[in-house]
């Protein structure tokens, strides 16, 4: 019984039930936790750690069946794999064939599985995974076995655009932001850090870059695909023709069938800038999204700007932005939030959640107007995803 459960000071306990409500799937550098909110999303109860000591890059619940939970795992010593649960993490089974590149002379090795995306609603049990170094994999059996998807990995042009390890992020070059058009399972996007945003309209037979309008670090040629570093790309749930992007070099919006990204981050306050990792979209309003700026000056501290973290929200497609920091630390908070660690729920008034590099889990029940910390002292948080159950 919920009443009997002991809550911690942060409003959480170790006995989350899997019946009804909002779940937060928290992946960290040292394991995973699942938080379950009450109906008001005010109190949170947790299970975990799952896979204590494992590096969990991402954890996702399949919205199509409401029960298949995948976790991308590795450790400092062991190779990467994917674990699967169908009982909300009470038990886990390992993929029998995790993502792996073909064996060949000079072939690549998956260092870690970075991104998990359930496929189209009409393709039950199909999932996509993005890896580091850049690889795109597909499972057709709910994550049990994985195969290389499309000819991408053998495409000389794409291999050139993927660049070397030195062209990637400090944690390695990766494929992320795998997006499936809800109107067409053959229409997909993905992004590479580094290596730009890409699109297929024929189920992966052909891919094309989608980088016009995106800027690159000063001194480099924006026509060179390799130099582009999209940090996070999202498709509006309410309008699949609208994409938003948080890039290494700004915040962008793209309205299809247009092909030129518009830098909407120029409307951000100059002293804050428009550099960051994550971007989160409203589930029903394609004009509204949220970002979490970080310091991208000089040596790239990648901390909150000035040690004063804040969310910025737009309600007009990026024409203007509003600072939202009520409840967040007013100073000396030098954390940041990684690209997968900021998420929205489907609430009538949308709930927002983010996890920090210093292991804090923050929540807002009112679309970012006010924030409270629901967990502290977790390991570095790599990803936060929401799920609605029951």
């Amino acid at each position: 019984m919920a009443k009997a459960r002991k809550k911690t000071k942060s409003g959480t306990s170790n006995n989350a039930r899997a019946s009804g409500g909002t779940l937060l799937l928290v992946a960290t550098r040292k394991g995973a936790w699942i938080y379950k909110g009450d109906a008001a999303r005010k109190e949170w109860r947790s299970t975990g750690p799952h896979f204590l000591g494992h590096i969990i890059h991402h954890m996702m619940l399949d919205p199509r069946d409401g029960k298949t939970l995948l976790a991308a795992a590795s450790t400092g010593h062991l190779g990467p794999t994917i674990f699967r649960s169908t009982d909300m993490g009470k038990s886990w089974k390992e993929a029998t064939r995790p993502p792996a590149f073909k064996k060949k002379e000079g072939g690549r090795t998956v260092h870690h599985n970075f991104w998990l995306t359930p496929a189209h609603g009409n393709e039950p049990n199909v999932w996509y995974a993005g890896t580091s170094p850049q690889g795109l994999f597909r499972s057709e059996d709910g994550g049990v076995t994985w195969n290389e998807f499309s000819g991408l990995h053998d495409d000389k042009q794409y291999r050139e655009w993927m660049g070397s390890e030195q062209d990637g992020t400090p944690n390695g070059p990766m494929i992320h932001s795998i997006i499936i058009d809800p109107r067409n399972p053959k229409h997909l996007y993905f992004a590479m850090s580094g290596g730009g945003v890409h699109e297929t309209v024929d189920g992966g037979k052909h891919w094309a870059p989608l980088i016009d309008g995106m800027e690159v670090v000063e001194g480099f040629d924006p026509k060179t695909v390799t130099f582009h570093d999209p940090h996070c790309v999202r498709m509006c749930p309410s309008n699949p023709d609208r994409l938003y992007q948080q890039n290494h070099c700004g915040i962008y919006r793209l309205d299809r069938p247009g092909k030129v990204w518009k830098r909407i981050g120029k409307a951000m306050p100059a002293k804050v800038g428009d550099v960051g990792f994550p971007i989160v979209l409203h589930p029903r309003d394609d004009e509204r999204c949220w970002v979490l700026p970080m310091d991208g000056q000089t040596v790239w501290p990648r901390t909150s700007v000035g040690g004063k973290p804040a969310i910025y929200s737009t309600g007009n497609g990026g024409k203007s932005w509003t600072r939202l920091d009520t409840g967040l630390p007013k100073a000396e908070a030098w954390w940041t939030v990684k690209r997968q660690a900021f998420a929205a729920d489907m609430g009538t008034t949308v709930g927002l959640y983010f996890g920090t590099t210093s292991g804090e889990l923050w929540a807002s029940r009112n679309e970012g107007k006010a924030w409270n910390c629901i967990a502290r002292h977790l390991p570095e948080i790599y990803a936060v995803e929401t799920a609605t159950i029951g």
């Binding site: 400092g76 010593h77 190779g79 792996a100 064996k103 690549r108 090795t109 998956v110």
Partner: protein, 96 residues
């Protein structure tokens, strides 16, 4: 000729597969031995050997106390194989 059955000492990160820190496996080479281990404990090999058939960077293999880096290294009856995690194995950044 039957393949040699040998004692294999298991590193702690792999205990979730074997359930024991000492198991038996058979194979005439280290590579064959690891394949047999995978047959007995599915999934364990890929955590130690990557898709290009290279031993993973932070795993170490010993045969009778001598470090071995070649999957073709012969194994004979009575050998003792040790699978050990290297001290170096943090995350890519090298931090613990």
């Amino acid at each position: 000729m039957a393949e040699p059955i040998v004692k294999v000492l298991i590193a702690s990160p792999l205990l979730s597969y074997t359930g024991a820190d000492e198991v038996e496996a058979c194979g005439a080479s280290l590579g064959a031995l690891l394949k047999d281990l995978d047959r007995r404990y599915p999934g364990i090999r890929f955590r130690m050997v990557d898709e290009q058939e290279q031993l993973r960077r932070h795993m170490r293999f010993f045969v009778n106390g001598e470090i071995v880096k070649d999957l073709g290294h012969p194994i004979k009856t009575g050998d003792e194989v040790g699978i050990v995690q290297a001290l170096s194995g943090g995350e890519r950044s090298g931090l613990p």
